[in-house]
């Protein structure tokens, strides 16, 4: 059974700080790992990491994938109050029936002014 564990469960930082979120996983025949941001609504897609794309960057957000150690990190630099959200990590195996994802429990980030 596929498994995703995110840490920490929650954290509070101040604007300008750097945040590092962790996602460890167990999956049979890894295909991809995805990061989502969820504010008070639906999750929105941030990054997808695969064997051929183990590092992604978009503005102040970046993510790396370590396939050997089975984890991923999401970094947010120069945090802003708009970064306050729950960040979700999900994994997908190769040839998953129904193209399914397994999600972790999420990390809640609160950025204070």
């Amino acid at each position: 059974e596929d498994k995703v564990v995110q840490s920490p469960l929650s954290l509070v930082v101040h604007e300008g700080d750097t945040v590092t979120l962790n996602c460890s996983y167990e999956v049979t025949n890894f295909r991809s790992l995805l990061w989502y941001k969820q504010e008070k609504k639906a999750p929105t897609f941030l990054f997808m990491l695969t064997s051929s794309g183990i590092e992604k960057k978009s503005g102040r957000l970046s993510s790396i994938l370590d396939k050997k150690e089975l984890f991923s990190i999401l970094n947010i630099t120069a945090t802003q109050t708009g970064d306050s959200a729950v960040y979700l990590c999900a994994v997908a195996p190769l040839k998953a029936a129904g193209n399914k994802l397994t999600f972790g429990g999420g990390t809640r980030v609160l950025v204070k002014p």
Binding site: L34, K41, A42, F45, L88, A90, G98, N99, F103, G105
Partner: protein
Amino acid sequence: DAGITQSPRHKVTETGTPVTLRCHQTENHRYMYWYRQDPGHGLRLIHYSYGVKDTDKGEVSDGYSVSRSKTEDFLLTLESATSSQTSVYFCAISEGTTNEQFFGPGTRLTVL
């Protein structure tokens, strides 16, 4: 934003009553999913569909059924609602060429 709508957006019902939630997409994506989200549990898959009339169970399917008679609509039915089914329900869609899923706005269901 992907064209996904859910209805109703909020519902309060009583234990033992049947409830149907609707997910509608305008993207013509093959795959559709129903998740529930509860504190401390992230998103858990209830049922999914890989085509019209093709559905299968997820990890928390007990007490739920689904139907997909058209590509654009995926219905989730709680046959006899219980208080443990109080949750936020999200529908998602996926084209299938990648693993990316797009989520609807969610339905907050309260079972009294």
